[in-house]
């Protein structure tokens, strides 16, 4: 019964753009209500959010972009269409393309500044917290399951999701991770530390390297064994930070600190090793007065004057929105020192604004989304001719979707309604299990997910011939191919609906002509299956653009 109702709702959506049977439309009451909201522009928080485009920080950021383009002699690309921007936004914040249901709503919203308002809407959706927690967690704890006895990745993710849902200031989230104590099953944040247990022993070096990378955006791992050849980090600096973590111990009552324990480094120079006192490489006045070494360090890392913290966060969030970090030519967690590269002035601007707004991650996202860089078309301006487009955000980059975005988009395209926590249990289960298998087979880039990487042959084979893609393109009365075949009245509206479901756009006249011929030759069912297959394998589907 429930399924039947849902199907009726789905049908309506499929045909909304063409001749709508009015009797059917009335069945989708909840949907109509939301669309009424959208039309009046009366979305939650709308009144305050609409102004972000005029915020001084957005103006400054756009001026900074313009400065870069002028210095490089670049001509900026045109504006992308709102549908394309919505697709980017949805991929970045929810890990999927927009559903047909959302597209219909979006099309009904004709008041100005709708992208910025939809950004807020997407941020308020629970799918954002779930998805972003997983993305952020990769730089904190990686992707490995690790030692189940003392480390529970699921608890960590769960904790982080709740912090995002509550919109807890990011400096507090980070402090909690560095200084947390307690049981890893109860206090989710403790898993940031228990993740660093190797062979039953706590590894302060591992957690030090990770802390500096994830929160300060710099790599001092090399300084673990020797002075860094390029930067000013020394082995002493590294050991000094590591000493803050050296008192960690674990007992049945959870993770605590043994305040009497000293940090002994066994470097082979002396028989018994050498004692290292906690220290920081610069500005020790940022340390707090706390007794607990980790609390002192947390205060130092997140100190308002520690611009590395805010710059690193701005670069990382930018990376999650665009698929590549602002500093495009380096790993996301390896920024040069502040003030050494004027091309990265954007990070200073965004970082400062992030801090002044109470380290509010959602605010930072909204600012970046409001900049010209996010609105840019991926079509290079004609004047570019044979010139290589420089990496300065004057053209939106083509970035390969990550595996979870590919599978999330395939599953969403297969469902006309939005796949979220309100979806039918069966669809959510399918999404969860199939997505995990697919990501595993597709190759999960793990913590390195923002690095540029090539597509592989096994991935192409999986998309073309894999079981899941066969399932998702096949005629089934409950999913998009079957629904579209059954309800959309003409091949033209069927083709258009498949395009919207999968590429978030309508077909061009040439495409329409080609596929109308295909529909005539193959018959509707086969043609719709083939059309979904074609979409899933097209570069437009698997690249952010």
């Amino acid at each position: 019964m429930l399924i039947a109702l849902a199907v009726v709702g789905v049908t309506t959506l499929a045909v909304r753009s063409s001749a709508v049977p009015h009797a059917l439309e009335r069945n989708v009451t909840d949907f109509s209500k939301t669309s009424a909201l959208a039309q009046t522009g009366n979305l939650p928080s709308n009144s305050t959010e609409a102004s972000i485009a005029n915020a001084p920080i957005v103006t400054e950021a756009n001026a900074e972009l313009a400065r870069l383009w002028e210095a490089d002699g670049s001509v900026r690309a045109g504006e992308a269409s709102d549908l394309v921007i919505l697709r980017r936004l949805s991929l970045a914040l929810h890990g999927t393309i927009p559903s047909l249901e959302e597209l219909r709503l979006f099309e009904l919203d004709t008041s100005p500044d709708r992208i910025n308002r939809w950004c807020v809407r997407l941020l308020q959706d629970n799918r954002f917290d779930d998805y972003f927690a997983e993305r952020l967690a990769r730089s904190y704890v990686g992707t490995e399951g690790g030692r189940f006895l003392v480390y529970r990745r699921d608890r960590f993710i769960n904790w982080l999701t709740h912090q995002l849902r509550a919109n807890r200031p990011y400096n507090e989230i980070v402090s909690a991770m560095i200084s947390g104590t307690g049981v890893w099953t109860g206090q989710g944040e403790v898993n940031f530390l228990t993740n660093a247990f190797d062979d039953d022993e706590f590894n302060p070096n591992k957690i030090t390297a990770r802390t500096v990378r994830a929160f300060l955006g710099q790599r001092m791992d090399c300084a673990q064994c020797h002075d860094h050849p390029f930067d000013h980090w020394t082995q002493n600096d590294f050991e000094g930070i590591a000493a803050h973590f050296s008192q960690v111990r674990i007992s049945p009552f959870g993770l605590t600190d043994d305040k009497s324990k000293e940090f002994i480094v066994d470097d082979g120079t002396t028989e018994d090793g050498r004692m290292v006192a906690p220290s920081v490489p610069f500005n020790p006045e940022w340390l707090s007065e706390s007794e607990a070494r980790r609390e002192r360090l947390a205060a130092w890392v997140t100190h308002p004057s520690n611009v590395r913290f805010e710059r690193a966060t701005a670069n990382h969030v930018w990376g999650l929105l665009f698929g590549r970090p602002y500093a495009t030519d380096r790993p996301v967690d390896d920024l040069p020192d502040p003030g050494t590269d004027s091309r990265l002035a954007m990070l200073d601007l965004l970082g400062e604004n992030f801090r002044e707004n109470g380290y509010d991650l959602k605010h930072l996202i909204r600012v970046i989304v409001a900049t010209d860089a996010f609105r840019m078309s991926s079509v290079p301006p004609e004047t570019n001719g044979d010139e290589e487009t420089p990496d300065n955000w004057s053209v939106f980059p083509l970035v390969r979707l990550r595996p979870e975005q590919v599978i999330g988009s395939m599953i969403q395209a297969n469902n006309i309604r939005t796949v979220d926590q309100n979806s039918h249990l069966f669809i959510r289960a399918l999404k969860f299990f199939r997505a995990n298998d697919f990501v595993d087979e597709f190759g999960d880039p793990g913590a390195e997910e923002l690095q540029d990487r090539a597509g592989t042959i096994p991935q192409a084979l999986l998309r073309m011939n894999g079981e899941l893609s066969r399932e998702l393109t096949s005629m089934n009365p409950f999913f998009a191919p079957g629904r579209i075949a059954a309800i959309a009245p003409t091949p033209e509206s069927q083709i258009e609906t498949v395009y919207l479901c999968s590429l978030t756009r309508k077909p061009t006249p040439e495409e329409l002509q080609h596929f109308q011929t295909m529909f005539e030759e193959s018959g509707t069912g086969t043609a719709i299956e083939d059309l979904f297959w074609i979409m899933f394998n097209s570069p437009e589907f698997s690249w952010n653009h």
């Binding site: 490995e144 190797d198 062979d199 591992k206 390297a209 990770r210 990378r213 790599r219 791992d221 090399c222 790993p331 991926s378 079509v379 290079p380 290589e388 487009t389 980059p397 083509l398 390969r400 595993d440 087979e441 190759g443 390195e448 690095q451 990487r453 090539a454 597509g455 592989t456 042959i457 096994p458 192409a460 084979l461 999986l462 073309m464 011939n465 894999g466 079981e467 066969r470 590429l503 040439e510 495409e511 080609h514 596929f515 011929t517 295909m518 030759e521 193959s522 086969t526 083939d530 059309l531 297959w533 074609i534 979409m535 394998n537 097209s538 570069p539 437009e540 698997s542 690249w543 653009h545």
Partner: protein, 441 residues
């Protein structure tokens, strides 16, 4: 219907047959048949070299296999049998290998620095310890890159019968192109390798793909070309229509042959590995897991070695018979061994100091036994698992790989660059002189 037959358009190269009809001289060389040097046509020492790694996942017990010590106080264990190498005795779990071992050598003094499965596997497959700033390529990835062949249309780095993700050898900083291509159930179904629809329909799909791709690419020619999306799909299509795919099946193999290897995932994996070597594939891993016997060690080890023994022995005999052994290195290795001390659950725990591996073929010296362990020596400081006295003539993982690379004609000290320009040697170890081919010693 719109016909796309021009090679200018994207995705138009379809089936092998069609490609051959039109394709000569168009520069799409990967669509052409393998014109020369088909590996099957060359035998003996001159043949391009390959490597097969039999990966014993979980930590096989040296005491119940290549290094038995029933006379020492190592708990309930196997008895010894003599072998075709004079003086060498191995566990009674490996009767068929006892007949083939003279083609190979045994190292009983392997030492690792990692006692955890995931870290140990990483180290034993790459020769480098895990490092948060870089992912090292596995040795098989390095070999498949350094000895890459242009005439192979199927993957040149393949993992057969693999289970856990971390056991699949990675390309690491060499790139995902060098990740091992995974086949879960060797010889049974070649997942994802065949189109799900008939030829005419596949053709229509590719034509449609051409249309959609063109409308995306027409405005962004350079950026789209840089994505390589098209060439990856073309290579996948080439593979799907390649006759070399047959090497991944068991077509033409008698059931009696399959039974000699063992009709299980690992046995069929070893048989497919032989077929891949014949086809010229460079680097193949076949996985047998289940050696992590913290509980009831003896039964667990016996079960797994009963799967290994016929498969390994038949593989060696088969390679020898087909004159492929001189060009194929076979290495049997796990991430570490198991403790001489039996735990309260009749199990053995992880033991990274003084475990065994077996290797041979490809020109390596045969019939050698390297190193010696004293299982009693460990009992005095058993609580210090990773800091026990090393065995006689210890061989590290990097040493092992330096030996293999040298034998395959590569220079282990040649540096390869990570993407951020950090140079790494292919292996930092010292080749084991006794194992090298005579001309290289």
């Amino acid at each position: 219907m719109i016909h796309h037959t021009g090679f200018q358009s994207l995705f138009s190269s379809l089936t092998r047959r069609q490609a051959l009809q039109i394709g000569l001289g168009t520069g799409l060389s990967f669509l052409l048949p393998t014109l020369e040097a088909r590996a099957t046509e060359k035998r003996g020492k001159e043949r391009p070299k390959s490597i097969i790694v039999l990966w014993m996942g979980g930590g096989p017990s040296q005491l119940e296999s290549w290094d038995p010590h029933p006379e020492s106080s190592v708990g309930e264990t196997v008895s010894k049998i003599s072998t075709t190498i004079p003086g060498l005795e191995i566990g009674d779990t490996l009767p068929q290998m006892a007949e083939q071992i003279h083609h190979l050598s045994v190292i009983r003094s392997m030492v690792s620095k990692e006692g955890d499965h995931e870290r140990g596997t990483y180290y034993a497959q790459t020769g480098y310890r895990p490092d948060p700033s870089v992912i090292h390529p596995s040795i098989t990835a390095v070999i498949s890159k350094q000895l890459k062949r242009d005439d192979i249309e199927i993957p040149q780095h393949i993992s057969l019968a693999s289970g856990d993700g971390f056991v699949v050898p990675r390309g690491g900083f060499l790139g995902a192109d060098y990740d091992a291509f995974r086949i879960f159930d060797p010889g049974r179904n070649i997942r994802n390798m065949r189109p799900g629809v008939d030829e005419a329909r596949q053709q229509r799909r590719l034509e449609g793909l051409d249309v959609v791709s063109n409308s995306f690419a027409s405005l962004r020619q350079k950026p789209v070309a840089k994505t390589n999306h098209q060439s990856v799909i073309e290579k996948a299509l080439t593979m799907m229509s390649s006759s070399q795919l047959e090497a991944l099946t068991l077509e033409g193999e008698a059931q009696s042959t399959i039974d000699r290897y063992g009709d299980n995932r690992f046995g069929r994996g070893c048989l497919v590995a032989r077929r891949l070597v014949e086809q010229g594939v460079r680097a193949i891993q076949v996985v047998l897991s289940g050696f992590d016997t913290h509980v009831n060690n003896l039964d667990g080890q016996r079960n797994q070695f009963a799967i290994l023994d016929p498969a390994f022995a038949t593989l060696i005999a088969d390679l020898k018979e087909r004159d492929l052994l001189d060009s194929t290195i076979v290495l049997c290795l796990g991430e570490f061994g198991r403790t001489p001390k039996i735990n309260p659950l009749e199990g053995r725990d992880h033991w990274p100091i003084g475990f065994s591996c077996v290797l041979g073929g490809g020109g390596l010296a045969a019939g050698r036994v390297i190193g010696e362990t004293d299982p009693n020596a460990a009992r005095s400081n058993e609580e210090q698992l990773t800091k026990t006295t090393p065995p006689k003539s210890p061989v590290s993982i990097p040493d092992l790989y330096a030996t293999i690379l040298t034998t395959m004609g590569l220079d282990p000290y040649e540096e390869i660059q990570s993407p951020i320009g950090r140079p790494f040697m292919m292996s930092e170890g010292m080749a084991v002189n006794d194992l090298l081919p005579e001309r290289l010693r």
